[in-house]
């Protein structure tokens, strides 16, 4: 199989290694070092896709990130990926590429009917139609539009690749390894700076790889290689290819995307696919180069039309001809280099130059080589549907608005150059305002905003000499400021061709009665006439033009279209370009895989998992876990075929009848120490703390400053100036931060230290009527009688040889204790409890049983303390001191917090004593009332009361306490349930709290 467009010798590809791949099912081959694009062009394939709106045939236009058309669905490494840029993706063995957005095939695409109806689909047409009849929008129009949406197809398979991150710091980050970038990096490296040099492409050197220049008597390519080799050998330099700096964020944070292994045929199992680098640089050199912009003409989207520099790159880098009968259409000298390159490869180009006849070094050389140059000429319209076959060209009049002569010439490709646009994206992202440079008809960076310094063509310097000088100087000066070392480097001698002035010409006029589409934005099918319509309709701001026409909003983000769009608007609006302004440059510079942005925090690693020291025991004993923030807590311990309901009922019942143990390690614990600890607690909690004796615990309630309950828990006075505070699992971290806030900022006069000891202690609650019996077995030498260890009492004692703390506190409302041992002893404690507790019928219980126990006791928890309730709402106003001040006190006096009808906590039981009331139900007077049906409250927590063997719920209800004894309906329209309920006290079991004191 021969490659008809492959040159014999040229290029940097490895001709010794053939790589086979398929395109639209056809087996082809290329060489190592090819991109998909270069390999296809070598095989003479140009038609690769269809445009978004009109489904026009599209080929390649560029040779890198600027490519607007050649986006393919590519399958490699066992995965299919949409919208892969064929000009960037390197060829690997077995890759299979297919065309997107076409059906049944790219050659015959039914969607192309749009192209013939395009007169009815101007910019914004969808805003004007599809409105009648109304229902058609939902049923017909929109589904149809949606079906046409999108380019490629996203696979819904889980991605098995690894994506990693890296945080890096450096003195100087250089973005782009063209001449100015290499020079900057080299000079900075010689000054001893820590340098990172990033190159987006696989090969270093940028334009040095394609331009016919020499530096210090070396070819550009050889010089680049020499410098890179030296940089690589320096320990203070990191050199990265296939790495694009795509975002310039605050405080000189730049983000780089490294393609680590997509180009590798075989890679190690744990090598990441792509890597995201967060690079904090002291200084940044933006040597991002420039992108050639096209000249707009009729049917300028036909396959076979290229940017002229891309055509040159295909020859010089890939050894590929984009055509054998090229037309070169230019307004400047740089395209002459492309023409000369064709000539060198024995292909005869015709140059159409919009400028009047004149002379320059390159023009003279082209002339001397006998190249056909036609001045004041340009392409009016390209002919050919799926591939350019010929072009109608015209000789422009003096004003360049009409033609003196029109003819048709045969060609198989058109290489177009409308001069160069500096890549100012990163500078703009940095906050740089940019300024319009008349000389080059483009924006360049203005005064630096952060630490960005643009050099070379990214800064509008288009000669090699200037770029190198620029690079060496800036690299040296910026790094010298950091390293305090300045190594003199002689700026090398340069041999390059001198360019003449370019022509400020960007769009071909149309002859009378001809109206081919002249595209400004290829991928989104935005033509000159679309922009004209937008302006005609009053969408005059450049952002309005962009949004109305979708100019520059495609996946190539308008790299080849933005400036021409601006020119058009400025022409029509009669404004100069800087007055029109530019649209915002936002990261990323090119689309970045979401996997790379996320990195390794995927699947089970989405969030860290916190486990208690007894976790393994729970796992081994059939615990079903529930997520409590990052913690895993046993929800219930499954026996046999038990359901959640059955198991939790069994566990709760056992607590009420015998004794159970529960892992309460996750509750927050904070050690509060210092001479002012009591005063501090007194301010933090709503209740009084000054008189709590040593060895006693107290329940406390904390508010936010807005008066809403923040958290609750018990705090124990361990010694004179030492308190042990507990918090809920959910609020532990917030409470610590909250305490630190007040200690450090609001009351720095208080001599208190607060530190989390949550992880120091493993905690187990022992609850149930037999818990004291069990406790006495656990502590045979300790007096655990009600007198010696009363409710809210505290003791320290050895637990089978390890130190432990015993708190007589209860969440379940039963006689209960909480034992803390140091975490490494947690498993030992738990196993000992299981062993010793056997004779008392001890069983472990999970959070579900715990909920049941607390609900039927009327203890509030998360569902009641939902960030909207104040103490009186949940019957905790008894804990609110009237005498002293505390956090949030002043908010409690507000009108709405004190109205009689405010919602308060109550208990609910179903009249039939059978129907469970779904949580989230609302209480209504009349279940059949017309909507909106006034709500009197909601059901916050429900359980099956194991004490009374019927359902019981807590509800927060308007005027709650006065409703006790009345009947209402608890309705859950979502579950189609309406249950008649009676309002009772929220303390359903043991309302006097005798058990905890027993």
């Amino acid at each position: 199989m021969s490659q008809p467009f492959r040159l014999n010798k040229e290029g940097l590809i490895n001709r010794n290694k053939k790589i086979s791949f398929t395109f639209n099912g056809k087996k082809l081959f290329g060489y190592e070092g090819d991109t998909i694009a270069s390999a296809l062009i070598a095989n003479g394939i140009h038609l690769v896709g269809r445009s978004f709106k009109y489904h026009r045939p599209r080929g390649f236009f560029g040779a890198g990130v600027e490519e607007p058309n050649a986006k393919l669905q590519v399958e490699f490494n066992g995965h299919s990926e949409p919208n892969v840029n064929a000009t960037e993706m390197e060829l690997i063995e077995g890759l299979s590429a297919t065309s997107q957005n076409c059906w049944p095939s790219v050659n015959f695409d039914v969607g192309a009917i749009n192209n013939f109806l395009k007169m009815f689909f101007p910019a914004g047409f969808y805003y004007k139609t599809f409105m009648w009849p109304k229902s058609f929008w939902y049923k017909i129009y929109e589904p149809f539009i949606r079906k046409a949406a999108g380019l490629g197809v996203a696979s819904i398979e889980k991605d098995k690749e690894r994506y990693e991150h890296k945080f890096e710091y450096c003195d100087l980050l250089v973005t782009g390894s063209g001449p100015s970038g290499l020079a900057s990096a080299y000079a900075a490296a010689k000054n001893g700076a820590k340098v990172i040099l990033a190159e987006d492409k696989p090969r270093f050197g940028g334009t040095l790889l394609t331009d016919d220049v020499s530096i210090d008597n070396l070819s550009g390519k050889d010089w680049a290689e020499k410098i890179i080799t030296e940089l690589k050998s320096m320990p203070n330099v990191t050199v990265k290819n296939r790495s694009q700096v795509f975002g310039y964020y605050d405080h000189n944070m730049l983000v780089m995307f490294e393609r680590v292994s997509d180009h590798l045929e075989k890679k190690s199992k744990f090598t990441p696919r792509q890597r995201l680098w967060y690079i904090r640089a002291k200084e940044t050199i933006l040597s991002t180069g420039s992108i050639e912009r096209p000249i707009v003409f009729g049917n300028n989207d036909t396959p076979g039309i290229f940017l002229s520099a891309a055509a040159k790159e295909y020859m010089k880098v890939y050894g590929v001809l984009v055509g054998k009968k090229p037309l070169i259409f230019t307004n400047n000298d740089s395209a002459y280099e492309t023409a000369l390159e064709f000539k060198k490869n024995n292909v005869e180009p015709i140059i159409l130059d919009t400028r009047e006849e004149h002379s320059s070094e390159l023009i003279d050389e082209a002339k001397s080589k006998g190249i056909d140059i036609r001045f004041s000429h340009g392409v009016i319209v390209a002919n050919g549907y799926k591939k350019v076959k010929s072009a109608k060209i015209g000789k422009l009049n003096k004003d360049k608005n009409s033609f003196e002569k029109i003819e048709t010439v045969d060609c198989d490709c058109i290489c177009v150059s409308g001069f160069w646009t500096p890549s100012v994206h990163l500078a703009s992202q940095s906050g740089n305002k940019l300024k319009y440079e008349e000389k080059i008809d483009a924006f360049i960076p203005d005064k630096k905003k952060q630490h960005e310094t643009s050099v070379g063509s990214a800064n509008g310097s288009f000669t090699l000499e200037e770029s190198l000088k620029n690079g060496f100087e800036n690299g040296s000066n910026l790094s010298a400021k950091i390293t305090d070392t300045k190594t003199e480097i002689a700026i090398p001698n340069v041999n390059e061709k001198k360019y003449g002035a370019h022509d400020k010409f960007w769009c071909m006029p149309l002859p009378k009665n001809e109206n081919p589409k002249r595209f400004v934005d290829f991928q989104n099918d935005v033509s000159v006439s679309d922009i004209e319509i937008a302006l005609r309709e009053g969408y005059r701001s450049i952002e309005h033009v962009k949004r109305y026409t979708t100019l520059g909003m495609a996946t190539d983000q308008g790299r080849t279209s933005n400036l021409n769009g601006l020119q058009l608007v400025s022409n029509i609006e009669n404004k100069i370009v800087p007055e029109v302004g530019h649209t915002t440059f936002r990261p990323p510079f090119t689309p970045i895989t979401i996997g790379t942005i996320v990195g390794r925090e995927v699947g089970m690693e989405y969030m860290p998992t916190r486990k208690t020291p007894m976790h393994e025991w729970h796992e081994k004993n059939n615990a079903v876990f529930v997520d409590a923030g990052a913690w895993k807590r046993p929800r219930y311990y499954k026996q046999g075929n038990e359901t959640l309901f059955e198991a939790s009922k069994r566990e709760a019942k056992n607590v009420r009848e015998n004794v159970g143990i529960c892992d309460v390690t996750t509750l927050g614990k904070i050690d509060i120490k210092g001479p002012d600890a009591a005063e501090f607690l007194n301010r933090v909690y709503t209740n009084a703390w000054m008189k709590l004796p040593v060895g006693k615990a107290r329940y406390g309630l904390m508010l936010r400053e807005d008066g809403i309950v923040m958290d609750d828990g018990t705090t124990t006075r361990i010694s004179e100036n030492h308190y042990h505070m507990t918090t809920t699992t959910a609020q532990a971290a917030n409470v610590l931060s909250h305490l630190e806030y007040y200690l450090q900022i609001v009351w720095p006069e208080l001599n208190v230290n607060a530190v989390s000891t949550t992880e120091q202690w493993a905690g187990a609650a022992i609850a149930g009527p037999k818990s004291r019996d069990m406790l006495s077995k656990l502590y045979p030498d300790l007096d655990v009688s009600n007198d010696a260890l009363p409710f809210m009492g505290y003791k320290e004692a050895e637990f089978f040889g390890v130190p432990s703390r015993i708190f007589r506190i209860s969440f379940s409302g039963e006689l209960a204790y909480e034992i803390n041992v140091k975490s490494d002893h947690g498993m030992f404690m738990w196993e000992k409890m299981m062993e010793v507790g056997k004779e008392f019928g001890n069983q472990p219980y999970g959070t579900e049983a715990l909920s049941t126990l607390r609900i039927e006791m009327g203890h509030v928890a998360g569902p009641e303390l939902d960030g909207r309730t104040i103490p009186s709402d949940v019957s905790l106003n008894g804990l609110v001191s009237k005498k002293k001040d505390f956090i949030g006190k002043n908010s409690l006096g507000r009108e709405a917090f004190n109205v009689e009808s405010r919602q308060k906590i109550v208990g609910l039981i179903p009249i039939d004593r059978k129907s469970s009331i779904p949580e989230g139900s609302h209480i209504v007077q009349d279940q059949n009332a017309k909507l909106p049906n006034p709500k009197l409250g909601h059901v916050s927590s429900s359980c099956w009361s194991v004490e009374n063997n019927n359902p019981f719920s807590l509800a927060i209800m308007k005027d709650g306490k006065n409703m006790i004894g009345k009947k209402f309906f608890a309705v859950s329209p979502l579950k189609n349930k309406s249950i008649e309920v009676e309002v009772i006290s929220s303390h359903y079991v043991d309302p006097e709290g005798k058990r905890v004191r027993s």
Partner: protein
Amino acid sequence: MLYIKCPYCGLRAQKEFSYGGDATVKRPNINEEVSSEDWDNFVYMRKSPRGKHIELWQHIAGCRQWIKVQRDTATHEIFQTAKVTEEIR
């Protein structure tokens, strides 16, 4: 990602901090009479200027100290950081 100079630990990635809001809001003194209006202003009212803003951050994955940061809310430029006990001009 912002780069915040902790007055105790030096320049650190934003990832180590958590935000605490306007540092110029001053809580009324404890045990002191305060009018409802002043209290509500403390709890709810915010200047939220465009430009220089003095705010609190906590170096939560660091020394756990609350610090003051003077930052431009439009450009994110940080002019000064200080301990909470220090004044920012």
